[in-house]
């Protein structure tokens, strides 16, 4: 009896260290103590002054944030219940997001319209640390696809509510936004159209091309090699390479210029993204179709399915989850790559990034970068969930 009781006592008395938790706890602790939580600048361009947590917030708020972080450290460091970790991450993230807005009011001298307050390195690292904690806890919970999307929606609602409350209005990113809110939404639309439009075009062209490459092995080698080659061209170079041929098309093909084809601008950006998207779509279509069990194909033929029936009833459904994985890769890749489109006048969030670099205004860079990251992240979560829903159906009962 004593022998049996001993191991249980050891477990309950000395907590086990969580391996990833050690890393997260170190990151969080370092960011809290050493890194600036906010940066104060007299105007939007000059070098800013760093403020650590205790100098960036009113006393009771900095105590509140510090208390939350201090409580979170042992929860993160030791192996604790997954739900507790998730709850801890949610509380900390909420506190971070709300309190970072308060730094603006605290640090900006009254009546000073030129001064800028931005979230500092400490804020971003703390945000990263707690997001990592949340992601780790969510992974361990092994949630089904719908709950995952549900959590994404909840997070979006929380961020939206904080933004609408005006809490962040004093922050420099939003000040940059207020100056150009029309342009922001215009470029946001352009960005989404670039990313999704090129994806849709790549699916419309790439899936049939993949099916064809699968059916004709000789074509497969040629197509995949060409697309592989294209993929190695740096994105900026590809945008540049398209200027000459598209300018020629605009000048020489009747009506091309009228529908918006030109050497620079939206069209070459869309074309370049489309070309980049083809490889993952075609390759995944081919791989997916090659993965269809030969016996299933043979049985389908032997029972009298026509080639078309076999394609739509057997091969495509079985390859679908892999094709969808390709689409997910393309979408996330395109949301990021579309930023570069601004270089050739294609628009999108990249406009703010490159303007910001030109003006050495980091806040403006963030106005372009942060929405891009959020968009890519959300797209990845949603499509991952969809891929899982689709592939689960093949394995177990409906």
């Amino acid at each position: 009896m004593t022998v049996a009781a001993a191991p249980a006592r050891i477990v309950s008395r000395s907590p086990v260290i969580d391996k990833l938790g050690v890393l997260i706890a170190l990151i969080v602790a370092a960011a809290w103590v050493f890194l600036p939580f906010a940066t104060f600048k007299a105007n939007r361009i000059i070098q800013g002054q760093s403020r650590i947590v205790f100098d960036a917030l009113p006393p009771w708020q900095s105590i509140l944030l510090s208390a939350i972080i201090a409580i979170s450290l042992p929860v993160i460091f030791y192996r604790t219940g997954t739900l507790w970790r998730l709850l801890m991450a949610a509380v900390a993230l909420l506190a971070l997001l709300i309190l970072v807005g308060q730094t603006a009011a605290y640090l900006t001298p009254p009546g000073n319209a030129l001064a800028r307050v931005s979230p500092g390195a400490g804020f971003w690292v703390l945000l990263f640390g707690f997001l990592l904690l949340a992601a780790d806890a969510l992974t361990r919970l092994r949630l089904k696809p719908w709950p995952r999307i549900g959590i994404l929606v909840l997070a979006a609602i929380a961020v939206g509510a904080i933004m609408l409350s005006g809490d962040w209005n004093g922050l420099s990113i939003l000040k940059e936004y207020f100056v150009r809110s029309d342009a922001f939404w215009r470029e946001a639309l352009t960005h989404v159209v670039l990313a999704f439009g090129s994806l849709v075009a790549a699916v419309i062209v790439g899936v049939p091309l993949g099916v064809l490459s699968y059916r004709v092995p000789r074509l497969r080698a040629v197509v995949l090699n060409i697309l592989n080659g294209v993929q190695t061209i740096p994105s900026i170079a590809l945008f540049g390479l398209l200027i000459a041929p598209l300018a020629w098309v605009a000048a020489n093909v009747p009506g091309a210029a009228a529908v918006g084809v030109s050497g620079i601008g939206f069209t070459p950006a869309l074309v370049a993204l489309f070309i980049y998207s083809l490889l993952p779509v075609v390759a995944n279509t081919v791989v997916g179709l090659l993965g269809v069990p030969p016996a299933a194909n043979d049985a389908a033929r032997g029972m009298g399915m026509t080639d078309r029936q076999r394609l739509f009833q057997i091969e495509m459904p079985l390859a679908f989850s892999i094709i969808l994985t390709g689409i997910r890769i393309v979408l996330v890749q395109n949301i990021g790559l579309a930023t570069v489109a601004a270089l050739i006048g294609g628009g999108g969030f990249g406009v703010f990034v490159f303007q910001g670099i030109g003006q050495t205004a980091l806040d403006l860079v963030l106005l372009g970068a942060v929405p891009t990251v959020i968009l890519a992240f959300a797209a990845a979560i949603v499509l991952d969930a969809v891929v899982e829903m689709v592939s689960v159906r093949g394995r177990t009962s409906r």
């Binding site: 043979d298 032997g302 093949g394």
Partner: protein, 312 residues
């Protein structure tokens, strides 16, 4: 009835099937047996035009198979293969209903046919209808594969090593099921195997193939008694010949008047098993009982030995 006339298949100068002719009568089971590379599977696949012959023709009930589009032809011919080829993304019911659905049957008719076939193969419809193939055991998958091949009640069933992946006990059960169902539906079956034991057990006629050529096409008795070439003999196995011959008949067929001691054997027992029983129980005679348990006669060790000798 299947008539195969001078069928030849040449791939890149290699003759895989060489001028094969044979006839399978309605309601018969013909087993094509041979080693790998003998062309047996190619021959089978030319019947439903999964492979187009280089020369020769196949007639089904007198009609040349080339006169029907391949996919229509195949919908009329059952097809079951070794790895069962179930569609992993479709339920058991959808799998079985494949050909009826291709033929455009009514939903309700398909459903009742599916349930009928599931019951026939001892799979409780309510329990198995909505399962996915991955949720079945190997034996169950194989049964669903054969049920699917029989779904549209084809007159002809082609089977390519259907029991290759099954363990011996489940294979014997599956073979018995096939014999029962084949008798019930009077289906004409062409089955390909590399296993002579299986060929003798299932075949009304056995076609032995080697290097694309049909060496012999005859009843099991004939093949065992008078193998056409040394290769056929080798395939049967010289040491196995008497026992293979014994396995073709049952004690019920040769039982005669007389009294015998000890535990009776069932009339359906093969002579081979009866011979083993004699040796095992040190008996010269065995009483034979019908399914109700009534003694209908006896067999002697001497009878069995005579049946095991090479026929004249």
């Amino acid at each position: 009835m299947i008539e195969i006339d001078d069928l030849t298949k040449v791939y890149d100068g290699t003759t895989v099937v060489d001028n094969v002719s044979l006839k399978v009568d309605e309601g018969e089971i013909a087993v094509i047996v041979g080693t790998s590379g003998s062309g047996k599977t190619t021959l089978l696949r030319m019947i439903n035009r999964l492979i187009e012959p280089t020369a020769g023709r196949v007639r089904l009930n007198g009609l040349d198979t080339r006169d029907t589009p391949p996919y229509e032809l195949r919908r009329r011919i059952g097809y079951a293969i070794q790895a069962n080829g179930l569609f992993p993304h479709r339920t058991v019911a959808q799998n079985i209903g494949t050909v009826p659905q291709l033929l455009g049957w009514q939903r309700s008719k398909i459903d009742s046919r599916v349930d009928e076939l599931l019951s026939l193969f001892q799979l409780e419809p309510g329990q198995f209808r909505n399962r996915m193939p991955a949720e079945l055991s190997g034996g169950q998958q194989q049964r669903v594969g054969v049920a699917r091949a029989l779904a549209a009640a084809p007159k002809v069933l082609l089977m390519d090593e259907p029991y290759g992946a099954l363990d011996p006990i489940i294979r014997a059960k599956a073979q018995d099921d096939l014999l029962t169902i084949q008798k019930q539906f009077k289906t004409t079956v062409v089955l390909v195997t590399h296993d002579m034991e299986e060929a003798i057990r299932l075949g009304d006629r056995i076609a032995v193939m080697d290097q694309g050529k049909l060496l012999q096409y005859a009843t099991p008795e004939e093949i065992i008694a008078h193998p056409a070439t040394p290769f056929v003999d080798e395939l049967i196995g010289t040491g196995e010949r008497p026992f293979r011959l014994l396995s073709l008949s049952t004690v019920g067929e040769i039982a005669h008047q007389g009294e015998a001691e000890g535990e009776p054997v069932a009339a359906a027992m093969s002579l081979r098993d009866a011979y083993a029983e004699c040796l095992w129980s040190r008996r010269q005679t065995l009483p034979v009982a019908d399914p109700s348990g009534t003694i209908i006669g006896m067999v002697t060790l001497r009878d069995l030995e005579q049946r095991a000798a090479r026929p004249a």
